[in-house]
Symmetry: C2
Subunit: 331 residues, 2 copies
Amino acid sequence: MVTIADVARHAGVAPSTVSYVLTGKRSISPQTRSKVRESIRLLGYHPHAGARALASSRANVVALVLPLRAGVHLPVLMRFVTAVVTTARRHDMDVLLVTADQGAEGLRRVAGSAQADGFLVMDVELDDDRVPLLRQMAQPSVLIGRPAAVKGIVCVDLDFEAAGARCVDHLADLGHRHVGFLGAPSVVYQRNTGYAQRTMAGFGAAAMRRGIASTALPAEDDYESVLASMRAMLRAQPAMTALVVHNEAALGWVSAGLRALGRKVPDDVAVVAICPDEYAEQLQLTSVQLPAEELGRQAMELLVARLNGQQTPPLTLLAPKLLSRASTAPR
Amino acid sequence: MVTIADVARHAGVAPSTVSYVLTGKRSISPQTRSKVRESIRLLGYHPHAGARALASSRANVVALVLPLRAGVHLPVLMRFVTAVVTTARRHDMDVLLVTADQGAEGLRRVAGSAQADGFLVMDVELDDDRVPLLRQMAQPSVLIGRPAAVKGIVCVDLDFEAAGARCVDHLADLGHRHVGFLGAPSVVYQRNTGYAQRTMAGFGAAAMRRGIASTALPAEDDYESVLASMRAMLRAQPAMTALVVHNEAALGWVSAGLRALGRKVPDDVAVVAICPDEYAEQLQLTSVQLPAEELGRQAMELLVARLNGQQTPPLTLLAPKLLSRASTAPR
DNA sequence: GTCCGTCATCGAAACGCTTCGACAACGACG
DNA sequence: CGTCGTTGTCGAAGCGTTTCGATGACGGAC
């Protein structure tokens, strides 16, 4: 293994000088800098991560806590992950994969061993038992999503409440008086997942405000379940003329299902989805965008800022954007 | 931060003794052991990962190289990931997430900085440019999948060639003389991905051997594409009475699509899938199992074995298992 | 011509752990 | 009863960085 001492010897300088060239923490003359750089290149030197972590008490690693469990729509999750990894790399950091099933214990271990400088936590439940722990840890953390108690933690989230409301408003403006809500798989609500609950709440409140009748049901990710939920909604509310879908896995089955139930989109039933734009685009659905990449990126940027000692706003809430497409043609 | 010296002081022993209690590399009297354990618990001590890595030249981390790109079916990928993480944890290792788009450069960086002790690489292409690098790296690696040249590397894979053949044999035994093959998205073949190519090859060869006519087409992950591919196959080979599907994302559309083309499963067209068992179970499809968890687990175990200096077989090839279900009822 | 501030560099001391040789204590053995 | 292995523990020397105080060299101000 080639060490910093080897580089220093080769370049005819002190090890500390090499270190300063690498980190840029002190000014170095251009000549020395390029001499050292050349030696580094020639010898193929890579600083030893462990040694670095030990000396600087910075691992240059963030832990990403991922929910690999039922009800999570993986393609969407991966958009977050990709954005996080890309942004991390841009700041010369790496990403340690921690699965949510390792629980608070896993967090404690990773934090205690100083394996990671910070934590990015996804799929937060409203009453999440990891939150108290995160709050008292030495390392900063950023949540993607929002628990009920946000005191003392930093969150990034889409304003799902507003998103739910935005869908209703759009439909109400088009004259719909009876709307349905096709939600995430029921386990997601059972877990009390923040974004799912909030969207529902926003949807419900907006319907009340606009004096519109509404029904809501969860749906699993298969055709039968989607069909069953929609059938049940139509039975409960035969006059239903619009549907809000907050379930990426179900999206593909919705219009086929409605057709099977004797309804055409958009003539009989208008559809608004809450999902990444690409999906809506492909299916030609009016949608509120779920900016996964943007959320992942911002979360990582916030974490980096905190690691650099900067003050950050405790809550970054992205405003929902609705894009009108063929599935809600004016009546 | 509480260090090993604190623990040693608290327990009234030397730091090295604490270390030996932790690693178990020398025998320690039961009394001392429990005394030290108690101090560790009381003080909430966690060894500093960096220090440990530096002193022992072992980071207790494996890098998992993930293909987060088009054509990869994420639910299946996540099965691998979950199995890898779980197995890693069982050996007290953590998992560093490296995305394939960081390329060979990323591997070099992680390896050079001794951030990881070994590499697990997924979604290997037949002529993968990372393979030469992996071969010459100080750290061992295990591939999930197989490049064309396997010399000097360790791979774990399902025998996809046999899997393709197994499907044909099953169908041939049932009397089918004209079969189709609905493959992965075309980008996957364009990339020359090992498992996709091999399955095709096995399928084709078996069809030849059994004197059966065959057609093959790729399919994307949407209904339209699946329908189009199947229509094209039926046009090319109107007598087609059986279909092998090697595309998890397409599975859900197959029987609906065939129905739309005027064919019923299994009476008009028999279907065999190559996919994780759960999917086949749910859709009641005869299938060759894709044991993702098993592959992930074995890959990690092999890597651990190599890290412990054990010799391992260069190729672990799992035999395909076919499970007969309703979609290939005897004619 | 002296003094002072800046700039570039050096040397040495951490950082927290593992590992290896050394060494008592102790029972077994001849 | 001396000797020899074993067992359990200690002390110290690394591991490869970063960081901080120190130090020359140099230029500008007086």
